[in-house]
Amino acid sequence: MFTRLVESPEPLTLGELSRQMPFSRQAARKHITQLVHADLVSTHQVGRRVFCQANPARLRDVHSWVERYESFWSSAVDELTRYVEFRKQLEDE
């Protein structure tokens, strides 16, 4: 759903989103609420219609978080590798 919003040149209503997705309007609303909570989507209401818009700047932040965690775990695995390989050397000697 988030991808659909990022690709859309203009804000989409909840109704439009749920029609394009294989789930109910209620499920769409719930999912959007989570995206709003994560600051990935902003909404504004016009009459009875709720327009939803992606927040690409926030998406960039979030991508950099993923990158940071990946680099963290990558360093950890470097250390794990060095450790088990040294252990193996010690055992071989």
Partner: protein
């Protein structure tokens, strides 16, 4: 939402499965390459990792030796719970290690800063360990 953001790392290590499993699941072993750890590979065990003033706590959710280890990961002073899943498999060249860290969007920017700080700190500590092991081996 929490399943959408996953940090993944995959690597093949030239060591046998049992050795790698021991290194990631025994508290004493974890302390030798990663972080000071009070950890037991038992489902339900509430573990603590300590690095200087920071504590990481969580509970072991899955433990299927020597292949699967999953634990929750909470950083002291920060809201939000994340989960770390290790999968190990024997391959021709040694052991394939896969790590998937999920739920990271539940932590804020402070946590992200802290993680980058850790990475440097641990690397230094472990360089020390590596030197020690080399000296011992000589």
């Amino acid at each position: 939402m929490s399943n959408e953001l996953v940090a993944r790392v995959e690597r093949v290590i030239e060591a046998d499965l049992a050795t790698v499993w021991e290194a990631i699941s025994s508290g004493a072993e974890i302390g030798r390459w990663f972080i000071q750890a009070d950890f037991e590979p038992v489902v339900g065990y509430a573990y603590t990792f300590t690095h200087e003033d920071t504590r990481i706590t969580g509970v072991v959710k899955r433990c299927e030796p020597p292949n699967v280890l999953e634990y929750t990961w909470n950083v002291s002073g920060l809201d939000g719970e994340t989960t770390v899943l290790w999968r190990l498999a024997a391959v021709d060249a040694g052991t394939r290690v896969e790590i998937a860290h999920t739920g990271i969007e539940s932590l804020g920017d402070a946590a992200q800063m802290m993680m980058s700080k850790f990475a440097g700190g641990w690397e230094q500590a472990l360089d020390g360990l590596t030197e020690l092991l080399v000296v011992t081996a000589e």
